[in-house]
Subunit: 385 residues, 2 copies
């Protein structure tokens, strides 16, 4: 483990409802952004890992090859990984393994999703199929429903309130308004958030993340080779993964994700740090309740205290732990396969002090938390300068 | 690289048109077969990698989690990999990387596909979408068409004949008839093969592999831990991958797969062997022409000599290099995500001397060649005792 794996390049497309861009163009845009600040070229990257969660959004089967062709890496080994909404970090983990196995010196990870090519209703249906299509989704449950169950349980068990939920959305829109790559760059008041239309009780519109198009890309290499690519490598200090039973009805708890706690424990151990050492976090706020639960599962707050902490602005810059200060899935957007890679791109900016008007001063350690389905795929990554 | 990665368990479902079994049941069947001859239990396996090529066959989004739940490994980290028809070996490579990275000591790789839940026409259409859905498949090309182009080019350039193509199908049905897990266990005469109905000129019915349901599973661990799991570990000696441009029109050659040559070169180098040291090979005979080209790309025969070698029975047991003596994709079947893992299961049998009436005597080194799309994803693996 002497030769760490490092991030030596990063790029990010605009997230949003992109009219003319498919998975190819979105990936191309992220890779072009990456190349702007990269001492080497695509010829110096040996292979790629492509993260795409759903092939029915784009209609392209085995989509890795067309993406790789478009970005200029045709002819180099590639594969697609998929872990539902945790696809992006699954890609980083696979590339990390390839480098550690000695297959390649430098690997690009591209996460991309085109979601707005179908209607919102169809997108919701396609995502619902990531629930159990035999025992759950045929009976009408979709993702807002799953997370509504968790929100109800958290409210009942800990006294979490609607105001606490909404305060997460308000924060993420506050920071999303400062992020030029965010899907929705608009602040939302607590009143607006609380009175927005119901989606799945107790979740309202402003409790739900966005259906977005977008891509993000990073290049990984060994620390010993990093200098050839950049003067400012970022270390991958920890990677931990967890999972849980497929069906919600089989879970021990609805107020915590077992997989997230497993993943965090592994990642902290690998990095040799404790939660209080994390300076900035990107967590999987597919719904506001998910961010509250994440901040508890990651050990930033005690179980049941995440909602109060959100209301007390402990997750803003200047609070105990700044969370999703790029806007998160709620405001930056959530193109499924891109999200985990986008978290890495954003944390790299923070750790390099390049996050401008949403910079966490002196951030040295960043953590990302990426959840697929309702916790069947969870990856926690820890990055540092 | 001192601690090699080894296979310490393997299982295989019946391949075929399975009536009541979906991806869950097929995977379960393969894992139950694995456990019959395994000194440890599922509790001793840390994580899994699931290979499934297409989610539209089963309708299950993010299908890894339901598979893992069914086989009894819920709650342990997992992900899905996808490389079209090379999905199975992509899974083995990802698991190898995870072990080398130190994430896990023991990882299960499950490859599975349920294809007969849709009509053959629909299956062909879904597979055609792995071609370029912008520039190729909308104009009517499907996989028989792609490989028909290769066959025509090979015939024109090297004088390969219809009889040579058919002789590949005859051989694979000859051996498939000896494999109780094969989809079609029936010998086919050269006359039958040559006079079978045309599919895409010059390919006939008996030039095309099968649309099958099935699963295969293996467990990987470090050599230093192998004894806890089995007395007969199989080493993964080499892994090489290659790729090519997305579109056939951009290829340098239609009579060879650039990606297969790249992958073979890498795998031979990693294993420190030459093609003549391979005792038994599993190659990706999605079409008969694909097997002929494979035996050339892998260095078993000179370019253009693969067809003659097939006709001369040089790929039978007793010939220069026994190829697909389990029936291959043509007769054993081709459940997309399972195929690459099935190749590993079959080679393990050969290397352990357990292949019964299709055993290659004294086989010590086995090679598998697994191709996705038309060569955009190629993995070559080398195994030995």
């Amino acid at each position: 483990m002497s030769d760490d794996v490092v991030i030596v390049g990063a790029g990010h497309s605009k997230f949003g409802k992109r009219k003319d861009e498919g998975i190819r163009e979105l990936a191309f845009e992220a890779v072009q952004d990456l190349l702007k600040d990269f001492n080497k070229g695509l010829d110096d990257i040996d292979a790629s890992v492509v993260g795409i969660a759903g092939e029915e959004f784009s209609g392209q089967g085995a989509p890795a090859a067309v993406v790789v062709d478009e970005i200029g890496m045709a002819g180099k080994p590639t594969l697609r990984v998929e872990s539902a909404c945790a696809t992006g970090t699954a890609g980083i983990k696979a590339a990390y393994g390839w480098i550690k196995a000695g297959f390649y010196d430098a690997v690009m990870v591209v996460g991309v999703e085109k979601m707005t090519s179908v209607s919102s209703a169809r997108a919701t249906e396609l995502m619902a199929r990531a629930g159990d299509v035999r025992w759950e989704s045929p009976f009408g449950v979709s993702f807002p429903g799953y997370y509504a169950l968790m929100a109800s349980a958290h409210m009942a068990q800990y006294g979490t309130t609607r105001e606490m939920l909404s305060s997460v959305g308000v924060k993420n829109h506050f920071y999303g308004a400062k992020n030029p790559l965010a899907h929705i760059q608009k602040e939302v008041s607590l009143e607006e958030a609380m009175s927005s239309i119901p989606i799945a009780h107790p979740l309202n519109l402003y409790d739900c993340s966005l259906i977005s198009d977008g891509a993000a890309a990073i290049v990984l290499t060994k620390e010993s080779l990093a200098k050839e690519f950049t003067d400012t490598p970022i270390k991958i200090r920890g990677i931990g993964s967890g999972s849980d039973n497929m069906m919600m009805s089989e879970r021990e708890s609805l107020t915590s994700l077992r997989g997230a706690k497993m993943a965090a424990q592994k990642a902290y151990k690998m990095a040799g740090i404790t939660p209080d050492q994390v300076d900035v976090a990107e967590v999987h706020d597919c719904f506001t309740i998910a961010e509250i639960i994440a901040t508890e599962d990651l050990g930033f707050f005690e179980p049941g205290e995440g909602g109060k902490a959100a209301l007390d602005q402990q997750t803003y810059i200047g609070g105990k732990i700044p969370v999703n200060v790029d806007g998160g899935l709620k405001s930056k957007g959530h193109p499924l396969g891109a999200t985990g890679v986008s978290q890495a791109v954003e944390l790299r900016k923070q750790l390099l002090g390049e996050a401008k008007n949403r910079q966490v001063d002196g951030a040295e350690i960043g953590l990302s938390h990426n959840v697929g389905q309702t916790g069947q795929f969870v990856n926690v990554m820890i990055y540092s300068r």
